[in-house]
Amino acid sequence: MQFFFEVLIGGLLSGVLYALVALGFVLIYKASGVFNFAQGAMVFFAALTFVGFLEVLPGWTGLEDGGRAVFWLAFVLSLTAMVVLAIATEKFVLRPLVNQPPITLFMATIGLTFLVEGIAQGIWGANVRGLDLGIADVPIEYMMENFNILISSFDVFAAAVAAVLVAALALFFQYTRIGRALRAVADDHQAALSIGIPLRHIWVIVWAVAGFVALVAGMIWGARNGVQFALTFTALKALPVLILGGFTSVPGAIVGGLIIGASEKLAEVYVGPFVGGGIESWFPYILALGFLLVRPEGLFGEKHIDRV
């Protein structure tokens, strides 16, 4: 039983990472109706940029290597890069494709994926890099002693970051002027335009916020598994998360991420040995597929009446 809990908690925590990527998808889908396949590439780009700046900044500025100043400067610069990416995407991809069918935009974001991956590796190189955020990856002693369950403090930190991020986004959406405009656009493009909300600015903002989420997700993932190209494949797991949680729901992304994370780990441990292992690679997709047949709008998604 104790082993079961360890697997479950490990799965839930890796689910947090999926949820963070899925969150970026949801933000963009809500505000612009674009299914942004490039979110995984954005995570990769953000993480690589952050690590890259960490490496080069001490040389450029003479700041202490690994110090707090370098960390925050790199963070700010990476965030700037994500904002620039958001502006460029809006200008060169979204704006010319306004009013195209959603599937065209989807294919455009697949192109964007390749573009972003190529640029990221072109600038920073393709080496696998480690990332140290200064948070120890050791089991928490309290849990170890009292319940005999192994939980890494880093995983708890990741979960806390995710929780803070979601809370901050919820507040941002609920209580700020921009947040209200974002919700208006998500609700009805035409109506939002007619009361004077500048759609283009909103798109830039929402892509930039998604870029910020990608940066946070990329930093946590990078610290866990190293910053490498494989990140983009793992980020694809966010797709079944979305199907499970619903494309338009922030809590759905979190719950979906947790379910996918936990179930894939449990399946790997308890079902995997009977079929040769490695089922983690496809289990989430099949789960999502099964789920689609029962509840196509996801757990928290808006029910849309749509004849197929």
Partner: protein
């Protein structure tokens, strides 16, 4: 002047129902086939045949397959490489386990296996569409590759699922050199491409297009959605499967399931976007473009920039160029290279007296 259909009256039903109703098109296609079947094998060297012409033909076939599903029936799929894998492994097993299996029958049976699997993964399309379906086909992509690696029977218990294609022999003639393999590939591809061209203007093809354009309206005029979508999945997977079998037998020789990964699926998707969604001709143009582009970049970029660039830079440049081109084509010419060809034809109709 040269290309005009004025005066070509169709006096019989047969004449009206030809695949290429315009005389110039017929001549053009015959010339093209003649050129690639007779002139090319004589003059092209081994490298061109092996590394460029054969893969272009095979990918064209796969692109036709995806085009049938995505371009004609409007169902986006990200799993075409997996169906190619099913075709390749299917053909391999038929050749291996049935004594005296004719090669052509084996690849067709491989295609049929792919069609069956395609229908299975196409079933969700009855309830979902768009992005949801794309994710469902991703499930096919990952699951099939996993199954081919893990279930060792498929690869005859070789390590990590690698298979080596058997010798191709038809009626006692062994296909060994690139020349003969090229001709064999060309034959299969031409026959299947003509069949596809014919199919898309038949009842089947027209009902695919009706479903693509508006499924509710299609249902109202009496098209059965379930049957139409599933035939699209079956035919599309069949084409991909045959392409996969050819990929294993006439192109690579030794394949592993991991070779049919998501990247290959994306490549095939790019072929139809660049070549032209909903065009058989476009599948060929797109495949040629996507196969030739990396080779051209490999050759010309170092030539232009000299020693300034490393090979990793060139491979990143490839990603950037691919991505950029996709976005560019979607914005500037959503109907791809095939549309450019069509515009050319319109111009040719008036040339040389445009007024």
């Amino acid at each position: 002047m040269l290309y005009r259909e004025a005066g070509q009256f169709k006096a019989s039903y047969e004449a009206d129902q030809q695949i290429f109703p315009i005389l110039q098109d017929r001549i053009g296609v015959l010339l093209l086939i003649g050129f690639f079947a007779l002139a090319v094998p004589l003059f092209a060297d081994q490298y061109w045949l092996k590394a460029i012409l054969i893969p272009v033909l095979i990918f064209s076939l796969a692109a036709i397959g995806l085009n049938i599903l995505t371009g004609y029936a409007g169902q986006l799929s990200l799993g075409s490489a997996a169906f190619m894998a099913v075709g390749a492994f299917g053909a391999y097993n038929f050749m291996l386990r049935i004594d005296g299996m004719p090669f052509l029958v084996a690849i067709l049976l491989g295609g049929l296996c792919a069609a069956l699997v395609g229908v299975m993964f196409g079933l969700p399309s009855l309830r979902i569409k768009g992005f949801y379906l794309a994710v469902a086909t991703l499930a096919a992509q990952f699951f099939i590759v996993w199954a081919l690696v893990k279930i060792e029977w498929f690869s005859n218990y070789s390590s990590s699922g690698v298979i080596t294609a058997q010798q191709i022999e038809i009626l006692g003639f062994a296909f060994e050199g690139p020349q003969s393999k090229y001709l064999l590939t060309l034959f299969v591809v031409v026959v299947m491409a003509l069949a596809a061209k014919n199919m898309v203007r038949s009842t089947t093809g027209r009902s695919w297009m009706a479903v693509r354009d508006m499924d509710v309206a299609a249902e109202v005029i009496g098209i059965r959605l379930m049957r139409t979508k599933l035939t699209a999945f079956a035919v599309s997977s069949f084409y991909c499967g045959v392409a996969g079998a050819l990929y294993a037998y006439t192109y690579i020789g030794t394949v592993e399931p991991e070779g049919f990964n998501l990247d290959l699926s994306f490549k095939i998707l790019f072929m139809i976007i660049i070549g032209g969604v909903g065009s058989i001709m476009g599948s060929f143009l797109g495949a040629a473009f996507i196969v030739l582009l990396p080779i051209a970049l490999d050759v010309f970029v170092p030539m232009l920039l000299g020693d300034l660039v490393s090979s990793s830079f060139v491979s990143n440049l490839q990603l950037i160029v691919f991505g950029g081109l996709i976005v560019f084509f979607l914005i500037v010419e959503p109907h791809g290279l095939a549309r450019l060809w069509q515009i050319g034809k319109e111009k040719l109709r008036l040339w040389p007296f445009p007024h």
